[in-house]
């Protein structure tokens, strides 16, 4: 009974937050709605016995990633309203609607049928309900079966740091446009004819 109530509340928070993200006209509101969704997802994680992931979800996602979003929004000052009424590209929005409706129906149908399909599948790595804490089991699998992928993500984080430095750094000569170099080989914007 408690589980059901928790699920219903979490689902409401998640879905209303998600709708808020795509409907809010102000990017700041979108970001705040995103935090709401992320917290809801963390609750779902707890309900699904993924305790460590729930903590990481709050700390990394809601704590770091969304703050980064908000930081960028504030930095750029793009807090003015973003018109959602004007349809920029003809047919884009109806198309999105059709795609969304079709995929909702399809995905819900699938989800309902998934349970029967999965019943016969077997578990390969360590069982989730074995002895020890959730964190311990996760760590054990992470540092044995998925050790290589884990090492590869370290390279990913270095790339992210270096990339952020490169993008943020002001070049020595800001106004020098392709001093000697070959520029892009594209058409100029005015000549593109669009």
């Amino acid at each position: 009974m408690v589980d059901t109530i928790v699920f219903v509340l979490a689902a409401l928070v998640i879905l209303s937050g998600a709708l808020g993200v795509i409907l809010a006209r102000n990017p700041v509101h979108s970001a705040l709605m995103l935090i709401m969704t992320l917290f809801g997802v963390a609750v779902v994680f707890v309900a699904q016995e993924a305790h460590f992931l729930a903590a990481v979800q709050v700390i990394v996602y809601a704590g770091a990633i969304v703050v980064l979003f908000l930081f960028v929004i504030m930095l750029l000052g793009v807090d003015q309203a973003d018109s959602i009424e004007t349809e920029p590209i003809g047919g884009q929005r109806p198309a999105a609607g059709v795609v969304a409706l079709a995929s909702v129906g399809l995905l819900v149908l699938l989800a309902v049928r998934a349970v029967q399909v999965s019943s016969g599948a077997r578990s390969t790595s360590s069982a989730l309900d074995g002895e020890g804490t959730n964190l311990e089991k996760l760590a054990r699998v992470l540092f044995t079966d998925y050790l290589f992928a884990f090492e590869a993500t370290s390279a990913l984080l270095v790339i992210a740091v270096v990339g952020a430095v490169v993008l943020a750094r002001k070049p020595a000569a800001e106004d020098v446009q392709d001093r000697k170099g070959v520029g892009a080989l594209g058409r100029t914007r005015s000549g593109s004819g669009r």
Binding site: L106, A121, A155, I159, V182, A184
Partner: protein, 505 residues
């Protein structure tokens, strides 16, 4: 805390076969060296980074060769990471095309005032992701490898920070890239839910049912294929390609159109022919549609282009359609002709030949742009009059792309057509006809480049000869040599036949 440690069973660290990881380790070391050299030597050491990056790539080829000589198929982490002939052939392709990219980057980056060390750092990191992709045989490794090769590519696409078109290229590539990755991940979650495993061979065993596929399997496969269709720029997921190719630095355009595309195909080959092997009734029609519209749309739009980079971009979209064709008919190939797995060698052969000729074409574009400062097709007018060598080389590459014997491209097309005819079903024959019509269409725009070079007058009367820097020259020589070699010998098909998976469900 202590009682927790006491009750935990002792942790046994997994055994790691370091020989199997040697190419990745060598490349990782050179990545670190490139980053440190750029940090320590500020201006004076800039030139060194490109040399170190190039040497690092060639050094990483050495363990690939020793692994090939050793010949044993290695499986690590319960089959999540596999070193077999397929992995080695693809790793060699990635390393060599990365090396050519560095050769054509050297002058371009030195002459524009872009950052040096980080450029090569990003390029090597992206190549590291590709090496991992060649061996990745489980969903998590494939996902991490995909991000490892994509995230540096997003940054490289926007390397010309002060040019708005460069920024657009990067942002567009990035947004569509992460969108496609999310779609792919959702597909992976569905497949994981059905099969209970992330290892491809186990997925393959679990999905290999005779009865009609469950809808969840269909959607899972569909989403995963869509995710990678973006990576290989298949229509209708190609919209990023022309703008990104146009706005990115030209060496990166060459890199994206060759190595990054090859990595997408490697992932598709592994997923489809190991994980989803028994489900050709699901992905066969999907690839048929993708291949047919990718070829046709790519070629038709390429006909209208007046910018050579955009034309090559759409031509590479169309070429991807040819590479997708063997997937479409794999399920129909008879067992006595090799079964579905017989569709792998044509794709690999095509990838090898395509890499040589496309890198060559982009190298010529770079050399010509050093003089004309333009990517317009008209700027190639009369190229033969003042740079006959370049005109001949460009003609070689262009006609190779068009598939005219005895240049490399005809063999690539030939093996694809043979696979289509081997399948022999009406659908395969129709696809073969579509491919044949497209080969003819593509002749028009490839020939228009040749016509500009050989028959049109020089547009501005500037007949000063073009000086080719040594690094670009060696890149051109490499590409031309391989294009001709692949055309007149069966080296490429040999490697294609060699590239087989060591572990199947």
């Amino acid at each position: 805390m202590l009682h927790l440690l006491a009750q935990a069973e002792p942790f046994r660290s997994p055994t790691v076969d370091f020989h199997a990881f040697a190419p990745e380790i060598v490349l990782s070391v050179s990545i670190v060296v490139v980053l440190l050299v750029d940090l320590v030597f500020d201006e004076r050491g800039k030139w060194a980074t490109s040399s170190i990056a190039g040497i690092g790539l060639l050094a990483a080829l050495v363990p690939v060769l020793t692994l090939a000589v050793d010949g044993a198929d290695r499986s690590l982490f319960d089959g999540a990471y596999v070193v077999d002939n397929f992995a080695l052939v693809m790793k060699a392709l990635f390393l060599l095309s990365g090396y050519v990219t560095i050769l054509i980057s050297a002058r371009y980056i030195a002459e524009g005032d872009y950052y040096e060390g980080e450029y090569y750092f990003m390029l090597l990191c992206s190549l590291l992701g590709m090496l991992v992709m060649g061996s990745a045989r489980d969903l998590i490794s494939i996902f991490v490898a995909l991000e490892l090769l994509s995230i540096p590519a997003y940054l490289l696409a926007g390397w010309r920070k002060r040019d708005l078109r460069g920024n657009e290229a990067s942002l567009k590539y990035y947004l569509l890239g992460v969108f496609a990755a999310a779609v792919m991940l959702y597909g992976m979650s569905l497949i994981f839910g059905v099969t209970g495993s992330t290892i491809l061979t186990e997925i393959g065993a679990a999905l290999d049912g005779g009865e009609a596929p469950a809808p969840i399997v269909v959607v899972g496969i569909l989403f995963i294929v869509i995710g990678f269709a973006f990576k290989v720029s298949a229509v209708p997921f190609h919209t990023w390609a022309p703008d990104t190719y146009e706005g990115a630095p030209t060496p990166i355009t060459a890199y994206l159109s060759v190595a990054s595309k090859a990595a997408g195909f490697v992932a598709l080959l592994q997923l489809v022919f190991i994980g989803f092997l028994g489900r050709s009734d699901v992905w066969g029609p999907l690839f048929w549609v993708l291949a047919a519209i990718t070829m046709t749309v790519g070629n038709l739009i390429a006909l209208r282009q007046t910018n050579i980079v955009r034309m090559l971009a759409y031509s590479s979209v169309a070429q991807a359609g040819f590479m997708l064709a063997p997937f479409a008919v794999a399920g129909d190939i008879d067992v006595d002709r090799g079964g579905p797995l017989a569709a792998i060698p044509p794709v690999v052969t095509y990838l090898l030949i395509y890499a040589a000729m496309n890198l060559g074409a982009f190298a010529v574009v770079m050399v010509v742009a050093r003089k004309t400062r333009s990517g317009e097709l008209s700027s190639y007018g009369g190229l033969f009059e003042y740079a006959p060598g370049l005109a001949v080389l460009m003609t070689v590459f262009i006609f190779a792309l068009a598939g005219i014997p005895p240049l490399g491209g005809w063999l690539a097309k030939f093996v694809v057509f043979r696979a289509l005819l081997d399948a022999g079903t009406p659908a395969a024959i129709v696809l073969a006809v579509i491919a044949a019509v497209n080969s003819v269409i593509s002749l028009f725009y490839y020939a228009s480049v040749a016509r500009e070079m050989w028959m049109r007058p020089v547009p501005d009367g500037d007949r000063a000869p073009i000086r080719i820097p040594a690094s670009l020259g060696s890149a051109l020589a490499l590409a031309a040599a391989f294009t001709l070699l692949f055309g007149v010998s069966n080296v490429a098909t040999r490697f294609g036949d060699l590239a087989i998976f060591g572990f199947l469900p």
